[in-house]
């Protein structure tokens, strides 16, 4: 079937369900549709194999709550838009973004679920339901993902009439005591000790049902790191938000702030000086290096190879020193300003960088050799956790996880931003689809990063470090997509012309990859699960993740450490 896969072609294809369509730019198309039209429209899109669902953004156009942000509502030109909700479904293909917009009434907003057509939609729909109170009709699974189980049911934090202040009382109220299972004689209190005494039924981060050794069902429960950042962003000025976005993740803080400032600069129509873009790019690549080395050590630790963990983290100190030398901090380098960068890279800094990178390159060769030839390492990675090309596509995986399955998704290549148009990136692909491939891809990306930084240092454009931006950012909506170390990072930013943003939506890459992991987990041994999970390079902040393992009719609560040791000793190692 010869489908015109340009945005123009899609406009044609989606006509039956389109209320209104608008080409915002040559890479952005918006199609407004109804709640009943969204599922067939997406179905048509899937049929044409156009793109993947990257994010779902909820918007509250309610006028009433603008009061606490102190901004007068500017008429949007469409009276029907005021006071209602809107759901945006963003589908991405290379540099193009196709956004479906569905307007919903204020009382009883509801949309049908997409998860039958797009399985990865479930996580995003749950976020929408929990934070905006939009009912997702036909959703296969009603359990909460992001908000805690004891969060009050009719309180939707992302709605404009909810202010963080009103949450003060909730956050500090005595937590609802989870039901205590009493065993033994009545009146005895059970001390919750041991992996097999889940006296307090708290939600484990993961729930695995096993039959013997094989996993038959896997599900995830997020929310432990849910801080309420998107809401917080609406309460902070444009500049203040840079510092907030940086701290969404300490490992990839720069790429978060970069995605944010790039978006705001687009809204403001400011041209950023090329030197600033190059410096931003150098930092982005340095961050990728530190992130991949960090992951290598963590993955080694999960597999029980503590020596490799120690060595890779020792070598990682080199890049930490370099980051500190130029920016002044090891973590949260805070390079970005709205309109440019704060620091320059002078001759001395460039020399240190070059020397450091040469050292790291030698070490990286050594690691590549270990990862591809060490018998016991391969036993845990070769042929394990395979995500096929089709699965990777269907489930919307991104980043090195996708590239290790042959899916050529790399925003630096597909939609070059910052300095990438002048310093093109070579996509690192692997078609073996297994865990070993994920290791190899990340290590090869390290080589590519070293090369890029050398190239940029050799040809650093002269000029200013920053351009000026107005305090009030002109109104508009912008989508900012960048390639974080873990994959595509998606920002949607909306301004109503004030000193604070109206909406900042952040979709982190790990969120895309969980769906793939969970579906792949089924059919694998329990002992493989730690490695499979670490293979997508998840936010390792939840290192104290707990896992509920259901087997033989009983339910056990394991800690992550126990699962990790289980995997190691299963394969004949020391835990």
């Amino acid at each position: 079937m010869n489908v015109d896969t340009t945005l123009g072609g899609m406009t044609e294809l989606l006509k039956p369900w389109t209320l209104m369509s608008r080409a915002v730019s040559d890479t952005r198309l918006e199609v407004e549709t109804t709640p009943s039209g969204i599922v067939p429209a997406v179905g048509a899109l899937k049929g044409a194999q156009w793109g993947f669902l990257s994010a779902i953004t909820g918007l509250d156009h309610g006028a009433a709550a603008k009061a606490d942000t102190g901004i007068a509502v500017k008429a949007m030109g469409d009276a029907a838009q005021n006071g209602g909700f809107e759901v945006l479904y963003h589908f991405c293909r290379g540099p193009s973004v196709l956004t479906f917009r569905v307007k919903l009434p204020r009382e009883a907003p509801a949309v049908p679920t997409l998860s039958a057509v797009v399985p990865s939609a479930l996580i995003y729909e749950k976020e929408l339901a929990e934070t905006f109170g939009v009912t997702i009709e036909g959703i296969p699974d009603r359990r909460r993902q992001f908000l805690s189980d004891d969060w009050p049911t009719n309180l939707y934090p992302m709605r404009k009439d909810f202010s963080p202040g009103s949450a003060e009382g909730i956050a500090q109220a005595a937590p609802v005591a989870p039901p205590v299972e009493r065993r033994g004689t009545p009146g005895t209190f059970i001390v919750p000790i041991g992996p097999q005494h889940p006296a307090l039924k708290e939600p484990g981060h993961f729930e695995l049902t096993v039959d013997g050794e094989i996993v038959t069902h896997a599900s995830i429960r997020l929310g432990y790191v849910h801080r309420g950042i998107e809401k917080g962003a609406e309460d902070r000025s444009w500049i203040h938000n840079i510092y907030l976005m940086e701290r969404i993740c300490g490992i990839c803080s720069h790429i978060h702030s970069t995605a944010y400032v790039l978006g705001v600069e687009k809204l403001a129509g400011t041209a950023v000086p090329p030197r600033a873009q190059a410096i931003r790019t150098i930092f982005a690549e340095m961050e990728r290096i530190h992130s991949h080395l960090l992951w290598l050590g963590v993955a080694a630790h999960e597999a029980g190879f503590d020596t490799l963990f120690m060595y890779s983290w020792r070598d990682r100190e080199t890049i930490m020193d370099l980051l500190e030398e130029i920016s002044g901090n090891r973590v949260n380098y805070s390079v970005n300003l709205l309109g440019g960068v704060k620091y320059d890279i002078d001759g001395k800094g460039a020399d240190s960088l070059r020397r450091g990178l040469d050292f790291l390159e030698k070490r990286t060769r050594h690691y590549l050799q270990i990862v591809t030839s060490d018998e016991s390492f391969l036993r845990r990675t070769r042929g394990v956790g395979a995500i096929t090309f089709e699965q990777a596509n269907l489930l919307g995986t991104v980043g090195p996880t996708a590239r290790a399955s042959g899916v050529s998704r790399d925003l630096r290549v597909e939609a070059p931003y910052m300095a990438y148009p002048d310093f093109p990136v070579k996509t690192v692909l692997d078609t073996r689809c297994d865990l070993e491939a994920r290791f190899v891809v990340r290590i090869n990306e390290l080589f590519e990063s070293y090369r890029l930084i050398h190239a940029m240092l050799a040809q650093l454009p002269p000029g200013d470090l920053a351009a000026a931006l107005p305090r009030r950012v002109p109104e508009g909506e912008v989508i900012s997509r960048v390639e974080a170390p873990r994959g595509e990072l998606f920002y949607f930013i909306k301004s109503t012309g004030g000193v604070k943003p109206d909406r900042v939506k952040v979709r982190t890459p790990s969120l895309c990859n969980w769906a793939a992991v969970l579906s792949v987990a089924v059919g694998h041994k329990l002992a493989d699960i730690p490695m499979i999970m670490v293979g997508i390079d998840p936010c390792f902040s939840c290192n104290d993740r707990s896992i509920t393992v259901r087997r033989r009719g009983t339910e056990e609560l394991w800690t992550w450490e126990e699962l990790r040791r289980y995997g190691i000793s299963y394969y004949g190692g020391e835990a």
């Binding site: 041991g194 992996p195 503590d306 060595y311 036993r379 040791r565 004949g572 020391e574």
Partner: protein
């Protein structure tokens, strides 16, 4: 031996105090070596002592639903067994405090007690006497204890005696048995590392949470006893293996050199083996290894019967 001397032997030298100090020292050497291999500075010399004392003064939490008596006394039994075993071996290169015909067999059983106690402790706390829990303990026993025993029997058969001091004497006079029974040496060393759960020779079976499960439940005194017991076993095991396979222990200097030498090898295996780790066939290899050790034993017996001396 009169009572006073006996008490001194049990409490101070070569038992009791000496064993405690020796074991802690060996734990230190082991951890320090591993750290150096991992390119770190590593612990201070008194670290194992600090760890021990800290655990002893820490609050002990007894999990609900376990047999309290077993919970408290199993670590004590394990440690006591290890201490007793120390009295039968040529500690510090001097003659064993006590000896009699067959004390080798007794010693091996005493060393086995540690694993049995840990296994039972795990069954007690984790599965509460469930069949699965005790099966795991038995699996652990067969994986490493049996081959270890076989490996110690080899030199005993060559020496023609079941008495440790006599095997030691025989070893001093003949060629080092690491040369004449290399397989036995390997099996003995790996068996010891497996018993002590030193990497990379953990049990080849999948479900070993019984051992780690047991220790997870303990805090304070119980944990201190189990940990100390493991250190004592390390010392005792190294002494036995060097005595039997490395040409006997005649004096304290030989004792130091040979046991520390072996310790160096185990530390190296622990850290460097991350690269050369035995793969999934470890289970099969191990059983094959144990079988081969058995075969070697049979050959020895046969040769002896034919009057050939090694």
């Amino acid at each position: 031996m009169n009572v006073v001397l006996a008490i001194v032997a049990m409490l101070i030298f070569p038992g009791g105090l000496f064993v405690i100090v020796g074991s802690l020292a060996y734990e230190y050497v082991d951890r320090k070596l591993v750290a150096r291999f991992q390119n770190r500075v590593g612990p201070r010399w008194f670290q194992p002592l600090a760890d021990l004392v800290k655990l002893l003064v820490k609050e002990e939490i007894v999990p609900a639903g376990v047999n309290r008596g077993l919970f408290i006394w199993l670590p004590v039994a394990a440690l006591a067994a290890a201490f007793t075993a120390a009295l039968y071996i040529p500690m510090a290169g001097l003659a064993p405090t006590w000896g009699y015909r067959g004390d080798l067999v007794v010693t091996v059983y005493l060393l086995m007690m540690m694993t049995l106690c840990i296994g039972l402790a795990g069954a007690n706390t984790a599965d509460r006497f469930s069949l699965v829990g005790s099966t795991r303990a038995l699996t652990q026993l067969f994986s490493y204890e049996a081959p270890f025993l076989l490996a110690l029997l080899g030199p005993a058969i060559a020496a023609g005696t079941w008495r440790i001091s006599e095997v030691n004497g025989y070893a001093r006079e003949s060629m080092w048995m690491i040369v004449t029974q290399p397989l036995g040496f390997l099996v003995a060393l790996i068996g010891l590392m497996g018993k002590l759960e030193l990497p990379p020779f953990d049990a080849p079976e999948a479900e070993t949470e019984i051992v780690s499960g047991a220790l997870t439940e303990y805090s304070g005194r119980g944990l201190a006893f189990f940990r100390l017991g493991r250190d004592v076993e390390l010392l005792v095991g190294l002494t036995l293996i060097s005595a039997f396979y490395l040409g006997g222990l005649a004096n304290p200097l030989q004792f130091l050199l040979k046991t520390i030498g072996l310790l160096f090898i185990t530390a190296a295996l622990q850290s460097l083996f991350a690269r050369l780790r035995i793969d999934q066939t470890v289970g099969l290899w191990w059983r094959a290894g144990a079988v081969l050790a058995l075969v070697q034993l049979l050959i020895l017996i046969g040769l002896k019967a034919l009057g050939v001396h090694l």
